[in-house]
Symmetry: C2
Subunit: 343 residues, 2 copies
DNA sequence: AGTTAAAATGACAACGCTGTCAATGTTCTA
DNA sequence: TAGAACATTGACAGCGTTGTCATTTTAACT
């Protein structure tokens, strides 16, 4: 029933070690031998045992995905992306949700790493921005790849995948400007997050390029949550909309949905009286009324590339994956929540 | 740097095997010895190596979570529940998203199982309902626990966790009835799913108990998706609401949100002209306008118990966890989407 | 063909743990 | 208090791989 490397070796008439070489795609195996072994592998439907591989080898076949993002859609997409690569490469995925508020995160990490020696980690924002964590990992000598909000100017192209929120925010803002909006509010996330400042800067740059002066009163800092979107919209639009805002940029889809909700409460018609945009294009940007104009972020693709980058690092020479994209720019998706100014 | 069982044994002045006994909580270790060993474990901060354990032992320390549910919130909750138990018990979790449409699911399963021998699987609906899968697992001799929609009448209390959708649907329907609604529509999911038929029966039972006759025209079969919720609401309410429906039961929160969306399109005020209810209490039932009345389903708790049940099976005598709940009934949460009939 | 270097393969000991079974200690019985 | 019965511990092999290093085969030269 259970097929081991020995069974394959016997059937192929070679040594155990040669089979090992074949399944690890090591060089210096004659083509002919390779084929014979692969035939045996296929006939027996052999699957190398992960535990044995992890135990015996210097490198491991387990990668970890670490996240502290409360957004379920985001997490699932990241998981699926990494998982799809893992499957192809014969790796196993260990997921590690965590909470930056928990003081013992460091301990937690160490435990995880001791228990199953890891090939490396994929870190997702906002946790991937925490320098203390990066330092710890460096100290421990753990490989990792970070998914970060940022612009391709930087050069850690070996350990980072960038999501260019700046450019995306610029594009969304430009979209609103082209619809005639002048007073555009921004419901941004927590400023601790890099994505927030990136998106904010993109927004500001677009305004500047259209010669529109900045107004801090149009910016509300929330926490990327639905609730804070509600609060933000109320704060910016309340008391008869003193700043005459005609469009609202949501820091993400949830905040935009919150703004939509608040608009309903205040009797504001969307998009006739107010345009609202989201960010991320999570499924629920299509499940609001009206559907949200947003920036599509291909999280599954992003995480696939993160995994590929990790594998490239991990396996050094054996794997020189060249087509890894390290910068992604979310792209504008126009739906019903944005429209021309009525004025 | 790397602490092994041998280091602990040396420090404690006992044999490797005794340390093994302690960390596995085997009986027949003298209290005094146990304490000495545990002291050594703590001083060295020892973490048993999972790969070695899996390789050497007859039982494994890896459990799998299998799902084919597209609902991200649901999946995350299930993951977190199982994960929290795994952490406590020193197990590792391997997640396995899959697609029942894929023909090669069986192969996929086998591969996963061969690669890392598993202690067992937690199966979630609707995949947990597929008899072919259960048979396959039985054949392969793999332990599993199924999370299923159903009522506690059945007796597989050793391998199943039931979610009593029947009772929950009964409760929601009763809620609507008590608000004065007589013509209550039902936007149900795919009838292939057990949850659909359970919810449908609960709805029908409630109507019956209130002496309201059934009307098939009030039932629309969708696919538990937002889109099908939109379609269903249009179908039932279109052409001037021929059946004079005043309340709509959504098969889940997404369908309810779809119905909400459709109502907007049709100019129907919620809840003044129409009450709409969801099912599951996923985060987005709080992110619609108005917020959804729904049935709260504690998915994380459910999956924790599923994991506990699996561990009990797996470890036989060593673990006689007695407080495992095997039946959960989602409970009514009243929000703004339901109200009294205007009539 | 004879030599040498390089490429391809194999033998065997790890990896860190658990299972088996034998060897001790301990407690109880008569 | 001897002897049996049981509780506690330890020695050692083996889980299925990979790393190391020795050996054989092939290719590349004179």
């Amino acid at each position: 029933m259970k097929v081991t490397i020995n069974d394959v070796a016997k059937l192929a008439g070679v040594s155990m070690k040669t089979v090992s070489r074949v399944i690890n795609k090591e060089p210096s195996v004659r083509k002919k031998t390779y084929d014979i072994v692969m035939d045996a592998v296929n006939t027996l439907n052999y699957q190398p045992n992960l535990a044995a591989r992890n135990l015996a080898g210097t490198s491991s076949f387990t990668v970890g995905l670490v996240y502290d993002n409360p957004n379920a859609y985001y997490v699932i997409d990241m998981q699926n992306g990494v998982l799809s690569r893992c499957k192809e490469e014969g790796y196993e995925l260990v997921i590690h949700p965590c909470n930056y508020l928990d003081g013992n995160m460091e301990e937690d990490f160490k435990t995880m790493i001791k228990r199953s020696r890891l090939a490396g980690l994929v870190l997702t924002p906002p946790l991937s921005e925490q320098n203390s964590i990066i330092e710890m990992l460096d100290e421990m000598g753990i490989h990792y790849v970070r998914v970060l909000s940022g612009r391709p100017t930087e050069e850690d192209q070996d350990t980072c995948i960038y999501v260019n929120d700046y450019a995306a925010a610029y594009e969304i803002t430009s979209h609103l400007l082209s619809l005639g909006h002048k007073n555009i509010g921004f419901l941004c996330g927590d400023k601790e997050h890099k994505s927030t400042t990136e998106r904010l800067e993109g927004y500001q740059a677009a305004l500047k390029d259209h010669s529109i002066s900045m107004n801090d009163k149009l910016i509300y800092e929330g926490q990327y949550s639905f609730e804070s979107g509600v609060e933000g919209a109320k704060a910016l639009l309340g008391e008869n909309n003193p700043n005459n805002i005609t469009a609202l940029l949501g820091g993400n889809d949830e905040m935009a949905a919150g703004a939509l909700f608040a608009s309903r409460l205040m009797g504001i018609e969307i998009p006739q009286q107010l345009s609202i945009t989201g960010f991320e294009d999570s499924p629920f940007s299509r499940q609001t009324w009206p559907k949200l104009t947003t920036a599509h972020q291909a999280n599954d693709v992003i995480s696939q590339h993160a995994a590929r980058l990790l594998f490239r690092k991990t396996r050094g020479a054996r794997n020189q994956d060249k087509d890894i994209i390290t910068t992604f720019t979310p792209s504008l998706v126009v739906r019903e929540s944005s429209g021309p100014t009525s004025a």
